[in-house]
Amino acid sequence: MSAGRVATDAAPVWEAVIGLEIHVQLNTRTKMFCGCEVTFGEPPNTHVCPVCLGHPGVLPVTNEKAIEYATRIGLALGCRIAERTIFHRKNYFYPDLPKAYQISQYDLPLGIGGHLDVELDDGSDLRVGITRVHLEEDAGKLVHAGGASGRIDGADYSLVDFNRGGTPLVEIVSEPDIATPDQARAFLTQLRSLVQQLGVSDVNMEEGSMRCDANVSVRRPGEPLGTKTELKNMNSFRFLHRALEVEIERQIDALESGERIIQETVHFDPATGLVSSLRSKEEAHDYRYFPEPDLTPVELDEAYVERVRAGLPELPAGRRERLIGQYGLPSKDAALLAANKPLGDYFEAVAAATGDARLSANWVMGDVSAHLNAAGLEVTQCAVSAGSLAELLGLVRDGTLSGKMAKEVFETMIATGKNARGIVADKGLGQMSDAGELDAIVARIVEANPGPAEEFRQGRDRVLGFFVGQVMKETRGQANPQMVNDLLRRHLAAHGN
């Protein structure tokens, strides 16, 4: 991001205003308005029927599960769920749209007026408003052929596969409360996590089950909103971040050169790092929305909404509070564990088994997470189960292993798949905690080093480290450090007058 260009505390020059529009593909068994199965990666036009192909005479029928899933999303985002919601037709011509209209929602959407509290990288919170949540059907898939890039420009012709057509989508529209690409990424990450926890979508950006468009404008602080452009179909977090950076920069450059921003759709090319206009010879769409005459209104009473609400899993915000309260975790740790449900589950299992939340959190946030990141794994794929980790931590707590030793054992557990006790037994790693044995060793070393002993008694506390080092060398690092410390102080104090 260009320093000094976007608002900083020191010298605000321009500020960006970003609103995001996210499409989430629901993982219902069947499509939004017909009984075809929702699939991915199947041979073209093998999961279609006259309805989702838009044949003459066909009619849509609404999937009740899609209504439920959309209600879950609306509730999780704190929206008010409409008592009466209807579908509208959005009319336009495009080859992936078989009826030449998309059944969507217009002025009576399923949910309105929610918010998502986003934890930013610096630990502060940003409340991003959610304007609306609504249902619609997905279009088919277009592949452009004959050109070099596989994109529309330069293609000779295109091929259409309608397997995806008709899949239920929930559209989530945020208020333009986002100010930077970092905030946008944080919002999208946490929204994704929330939707994932609801169990209603795979929210996989690479596969297209979550898609993101952005509306971006810039203005000098205090001035009215600038003209916005639309960035469409950003298919990864990195892409989103980079595209926003580039578009914000482009707009600032343009305005500073005295140009005007044109309201249009722009495309970001990751290969060139440039943004270009997507305007074709077609004019701006006039969607001619009108209520869908083939469908009935959907009226959701309080009993229904409460039933859906009761069925919601614990959501990140609630879990975060509970982790703080129940386990005394610091806010940042609690937020991280709440945002990643499987990791949070893992932590709580370990904490329950060991009875030591602090120790468990340190390990889960530390060694376990480091390992997962390095190996590119999700915690559900971790070689060390919660139970196995708990066993290892038990050996730390009962003094069998030092913290340092435990880390080595952990690495061995990952490498070999063996459990902690087995490894300790194999390698004879038990931390020496036999007081009698240690006492003898400490005594011997103090005897053998009168000089440093005297220095210690004169007040040079640092000399203790020398003695600790000697004991550790003698015991090949397996002595219980706390015990060593106590014994040394006793012997050093006792020695002498």
Partner: protein
């Protein structure tokens, strides 16, 4: 009845057979299903050169179906098995070309059956073929067919009415014992009136629209075209019913059964003042007045009633119907089925040429009106205002049904007009539907029965009932029909064989 007993060598005269009579011939064994179907195919061959009611005659398919019926012992057959029927070319019949009388669907073979088609198959009816219509049901004369002009069997220089002109002419000419049509603004009732047969438009939602190529979704209904009210009742019971594939379908509260009402004692009939005014031809008015007398003679009480808002019906209809149609017909884009232009440089050109080549002038006109009425800036003044007018009309009818059991009027203000007489003036054509359109807007059931003749041309009586009153409506219609005893056989010469 002029049927000979069936045995090889004797031609069966089907000119005035009702469906019930066909059924009796079959169940008594007097005639085989093959002989009956053969007789109708022969009749078609003899007169359709003049009448031109069929777009497609499925001789092989019909005979095969009839032979299959004959192969079953009579005791195992369903009640209507083996009775032939004609189908307006607007229903999707799996494996049979369905064109809606449009070039844009020439060659389209549906991969599925409409729900009503499936019901007819299940009942064992024999499909004779597909009947001519105004293109996409848009018209009042069947002159808008892309393929041929159907002629009124009572005067071959005149129109049969529309859009179900093929269905009405076919039944009037004895080319099928009964047929199915569709009614959006009068398209069953008006041709029935002009051809001297019975035509019923059920309450919206009684018959499933799944597989009916949509014209105006909130107005379209499927209904019987028959030689008498009893046949209409029987066919209605076969096709009616709630369909899970049609969200707007409701079905009948109970089967209507066979009407057997002898008189009209205790029933009050409201004469719709706005439909018997100046627009009504004097000859039509005379026949209507005789019907009123007949109702009185049967013990019914007739009184004039004013429904002022119905005068706005045509205007409201010609906003709502084209708007919905403009959206319903957008799927005809040359991508997945039907006509595609042979030469285009790009997608936009392909769409535009395909649709311009494929649609006739009336269809294009209505698409233009509808697109305009829905477009940005016009929606509220046109489409929304028309839907509010609809509410007004519904209220007027509700008020009237508070005082009357049924409402009556001439079905059409005129008798059949000459071919070509109104084609130069679209608006004049629209005014043919003055008496029928408001019934669709209010979703009410309405029937036209032959009431007499004016200058040798048929005049129909329209009876309208409250929602879901089909049973009582058909009962009343039956009583009037018996009293009026109208001759149904046109003086149609057979072609030399």
């Amino acid at each position: 009845m002029t049927a000979d007993t069936g045995s090889a060598g004797y031609a069966l005269d089907v000119r005035c057979l009702t469906a019930h009579q066909c059924r009796e011939l079959l169940t008594s064994g007097d005639v085989s299903a093959s002989e009956l179907t053969r007789a109708y195919l022969d009749r078609i061959a003899a007169v359709d050169g003049s009448v031109q009611s069929y777009l497609l005659v499925d001789e092989a398919g019909a005979m095969a179906a009839a032979e299959a019926v004959d192969a079953k012992p009579r005791s195992e057959r369903l009640p209507w098995e083996g009775v032939p029927i004609g189908l307006k070319d607007i229903f999707c019949v799996k494996g049979m070309e369905t064109t809606c009388a449009s070039r844009i669907l020439k060659g389209y073979v549906p991969p599925y059956d409409a729900t009503i088609i499936a019901k007819l198959r299940a009942a064992g009816l024999v499909f004779l073929g597909k009947l001519n219509m105004d293109e996409f049901a848009m018209g009042s004369s069947t002159e808008n067919s892309a393929f041929k002009i159907t002629r009124n069997p009572w005067d071959l220089e005149r129109v049969p009415g529309g859009s179900s002109g093929g269905s009405a002419a076919c039944v009037a000419a004895g080319e099928a014992p009964w047929a199915l049509g569709t009614d959006t603004g009068g398209s069953i009732r008006q041709p029935a009136s002009l051809c001297g047969v019975v035509g019923l438009k059920p309450t919206y939602g009684v018959v499933s629209r799944y597989g009916l190529v949509a014209f105006a979704s909130s107005l379209d209904q499927i209904g019987p075209v028959t030689r008498n009210v009893g046949d209409a009742a029987a066919l209605l019971d076969i096709i009616a019913g709630r369909d899970p594939r049609d969200s707007t379908s409701i079905g009948l509260p109970e089967p209507v059964g066979q009407p057997d009402r002898g008189d009209l004692e205790g029933l009050r009939f409201g004469v719709i003042k706005e439909f018997v005014g100046d627009a009504c031809e004097p000859g039509v008015r005379d026949v209507f007045d005789s019907s009123v007398d007949a109702i009185g003679a049967l013990g019914g009480v007739c009184e004039e009633v004013s429904l002022p808002s119905v005068e706005r019906g045509i205007a409201a209809y010609y906003l709502i119907a084209p708007s919905e149609a403009s959206s319903n017909l957008a799927r005809f884009d040359g991508v997945r089925y039907g006509h595609r232009t042979s030469h285009s440089e790009d997608l936009y050109e392909m769409y535009t040429r395909t649709r311009s080549e494929g649609f006739g002038p009336e269809v294009k006109r209505r698409i233009m009106i509808g697109t305009y009425a829905l477009s940005a800036g016009y929606y509220d003044a046109y489409y929304a205002q028309a839907q509010r007018t609809r509410t007004l009309i519904i209220q007027d009818f509700e008020r009237a049904f508070g005082r009357f059991d049924f409402l009556i009027s001439p079905t059409s203000p005129t008798v059949a007009f000459k071919i070509g007489e109104r084609t130069a003036d679209p608006l004049a054509m629209y005014l043919s539907d003055l008496c029928t359109i408001p019934v669709n807007l209010a979703a009410l059931p309405g029937i036209s029965i032959p009431a007499g003749f004016s200058a040798g041309l048929p005049v129909g009586l329209q009876i309208i009932g409250p929602h879901f009153s089909e049973r009582g409506l058909l009962g009343a219609a039956h009583a009037v029909e018996r009293k009026l005893e109208v001759d149904l056989v046109p003086p149609l010469a057979e072609a030399a064989r």
